[in-house]
């Protein structure tokens, strides 16, 4: 029973990490129908920024997290304004291929500057160790992760549901042409959303180092997981992504704990099954 709760908690924390990595992609995909397979490259940028700041420049870990957000957001908005916007009207396939090209380039650049080894990161002492609660021990870092993710979810939901900008974004996701007709500056809303999504991925990448590590191939390895979360959750749905990330995280962790010989088989099975049941995702509209 204790190990069951432990697995549940670890899986949930892992799921929250996946949520941070994928929520930006879900919103931008729902909004512009742009298949951005390079989303995890932004996460990788955030991760490397955090590594360089803490390890080489001696910044405290917590201070490097906002910088990871800012750097990834800046890079993503520059890419969006210069390259991506030309492809909004292209086919799914063209967008896929173009962004796979971006992933290849980012992986090669990361290997060039940082080598192909796993990057270590120094977490401060107060985030290490574990606390005991009702006979079950919880890792402090994972608690920190869960709290951060819940906080960000709350902020996102409030920002999208109760602000003017959020209403514009939701309108653009639901019906872009109508939103334009009503005078909403969809391009501006999209650029900001894209930066926000890239930034959240960067933050996720920085937070992920302690749990799943960071190497040059990160943009590829976790792309599959992020796509699974987005496809299962449904495009443009924050609640859907949250639920999907939790389900995927817990089933992956439980699979690895209880059926280690199955490897990642279980998570792919969950994904294929969910997609066949609901092709547009759990909360998808289309």
């Amino acid at each position: 029973m204790q190990s069951f709760i432990g697995v549940l908690f670890d899986g949930f924390a892992y799921g929250m990490l996946l949520f941070l990595l994928s929520v930006g992609l879900s919103v931008t995909l729902g909004m512009m129908n742009f298949v951005n397979l390079a989303h995890c490259s932004f996460a990788m940028i955030g991760g490397y920024v955090a590594v360089v700041l803490t390890n080489s420049l001696g910044w405290p870990f917590l201070a490097s997290l906002p910088m990871a957000f800012v750097a990834a957001a800046a890079v993503s908005v520059v890419l969006e304004r210069t390259l991506y916007r030309r492809l909004y009207r292209s086919s799914d396939l063209d967008q896929c291929l173009f962004t796979i090209g971006v992933v290849f380039v980012s992986v090669a650049v990361a290997a060039y500057y940082f080598g192909t080894v796993q990057q270590p990161i120094d977490t401060p002492p107060y985030l290490r160790g574990s606390v005991e609660l009702m006979g079950v021990s919880f890792a402090v870092y994972r608690l920190f992760l869960v709290v951060t993710a819940l906080l960000i979810t709350a902020i996102l939901i409030v920002a999208l549901e109760y602000t003017r900008f959020g209403a514009q974004v939701r309108a653009a996701v639901d019906n872009q042409r109508m939103a334009r007709g009503l005078g909403i500056d969809v391009d501006r809303a999209f650029a900001i959303t894209f930066a926000l999504g890239g930034g959240l991925a960067g933050l996720g990448g920085a937070l992920a180092i302690e749990i799943i590590g960071l190497d040059h191939a990160f943009a590829f390895t976790y792309l599959v997981y992020v796509l699974i979360v987005v496809a299962v959750g449904g495009l443009g749905s924050i609640g859907g992504s949250f639920l999907a990330a939790a389900v995927i995280g817990i089933s992956d962790m439980a699979g690895k704990y209880y059926f280690p010989w199955l490897g990642a088989f279980l998570i792919y099975l969950v994904m294929v099954g969910l997609l066949m049941w609901r092709p547009a995702g759990l909360f998808g509209k289309r």
Binding site: L29, V35, L83, R86, L87, S90, D92, L93, D94, C96, L97, F98, I100, G101, V102, V103, F104, V105, S106, V107, A108, V109, A111, Y112, T116, H216, V224, L227, I228, A231, L235, W261, L262, G263, A264, F265, Y268, L269, M271, V272, L275, M276, P279, A280
Partner: protein, 320 residues
């Protein structure tokens, strides 16, 4: 109707440049005998790309998991040669047939979806098979690959170190499959496939059963991909887990797009350029190889939407 069949008949006529191309494929035997192994790898990759072209270029099914059929064919041929008999031709046909069965079974799932769900499902099915092969190490050897594959001589010719038999074998199978594909896409069935690619909803309205057609072409493509995998097993005498990997699915997609999807020769030209370039760059760190491939992909999507062959065709039209 007469004009439609006349249109098809005009397309199927064999042009001189095609004959010249296939004659040129024999050149490696005399010009570059040291590179025959590479040439046979190119022919196998070209066959794999051709099979993807049938479903992606002609029928519009975007697949990120096509390596599933390649790997299934490779493992089938490998297991046959290891446990039962090593005669390659029967192994090739059996591997193709069994892969076709798997393709037919999965086609019922695949043709029901479009767009992102389709991409994700093909990706998911590919990953599923990869993980299954990885876990079932008692059968497949897991991450170490399948060892102990013994391939018997092909019609009396042994698979030599120089790759003479390997290249002749791969090239012959590629050519046969090419002829079949050429016949298929220039038939009314092939025309219907292109119609489905352009408008999935309208085709049933004018009397073409879209899903049945898609299932058929998907099965044919699976057979060809399985035979390409079997060729790889026969010419290298090993099967690695890599034959099922996402990387292989992505590579073949890149190759096809580079050459030009929806053109019979796109996959072949793409395979030629990609494999030769990779062979030349292999001395350098493979990481940098992916840098150039990435840049190339970006450039092709931005400036050459129909691949190299499409670009050449446009140039040719302009010059006339």
């Amino acid at each position: 109707m007469a004009s439609a069949s006349g249109h098809l008949a005009a397309q199927i006529r064999w042009r001189w440049i095609e004959s010249a191309f296939w004659l040129a494929t024999l050149l490696p035997f005399v010009v570059t005998p040291a590179y025959l192994s590479l040439a046979s790898q190119i022919a196998i990759t070209a066959l794999f790309a051709l099979s993807l072209d049938l479903i992606l270029g002609y029928a519009g099914i975007v697949s990120l998991g096509h390596a599933a059929y390649f790997g299934f064919g490779a493992y089938t041929a490998g297991l046959l040669a290891k446990h039962y008999w090593g005669e390659p031709l029967s192994g090739l046909l059996l591997a193709g047939a069994l892969t076709g069965l798997v393709g037919y079974a999965t086609s019922h799932i695949v043709v029901r979806f479009r767009h992102l769900a389709l991409i994700m499902l093909t990706l998911g099915l590919g990953l599923l098979l990869h993980e299954a092969a990885n876990s079932a190490s008692w059968l497949t050897g897991g991450a170490d690959g399948l060892q102990g594959v013994k391939v018997a001589p092909l019609l009396g010719f042994r698979f030599d170190l120089y790759g003479r038999t390997a290249y002749a074998y791969s090239l012959a199978v590629l050519f046969l499959c090419f002829l079949i594909s050429r016949r298929i896409i220039h038939s009314p069935f092939g025309l219907a496939l292109r119609g489905i690619r352009e408008n999935l909803v309208r085709m049933p309205a004018i009397g073409a059963p879209s899903r049945a057609h898609l299932r058929k072409v998907y099965t044919i493509a699976a057979v060809m991909a399985g035979m390409a995998g079997a060729l790889l097993t026969h010419t290298t005498s090993t099967v690695s887990l890599d034959t099922l990997s996402f990387g292989r699915s992505a590579d073949v997609l890149v190759i096809l797009i580079l050459g030009g999807a929806g053109r019979l020769y796109g996959g072949i030209v793409g395979a030629l350029i990609y494999m030769v370039a990779r062979d030349q760059f292999s001395g350098i760190n493979p990481q940098y190889w992916y840098f150039w491939i990435g840049l190339l992909l970006i450039a092709v999507v931005m400036f050459l939407p129909n691949g190299i062959l499409g670009g050449l065709g446009a140039l040719h039209k302009k010059s006339r």
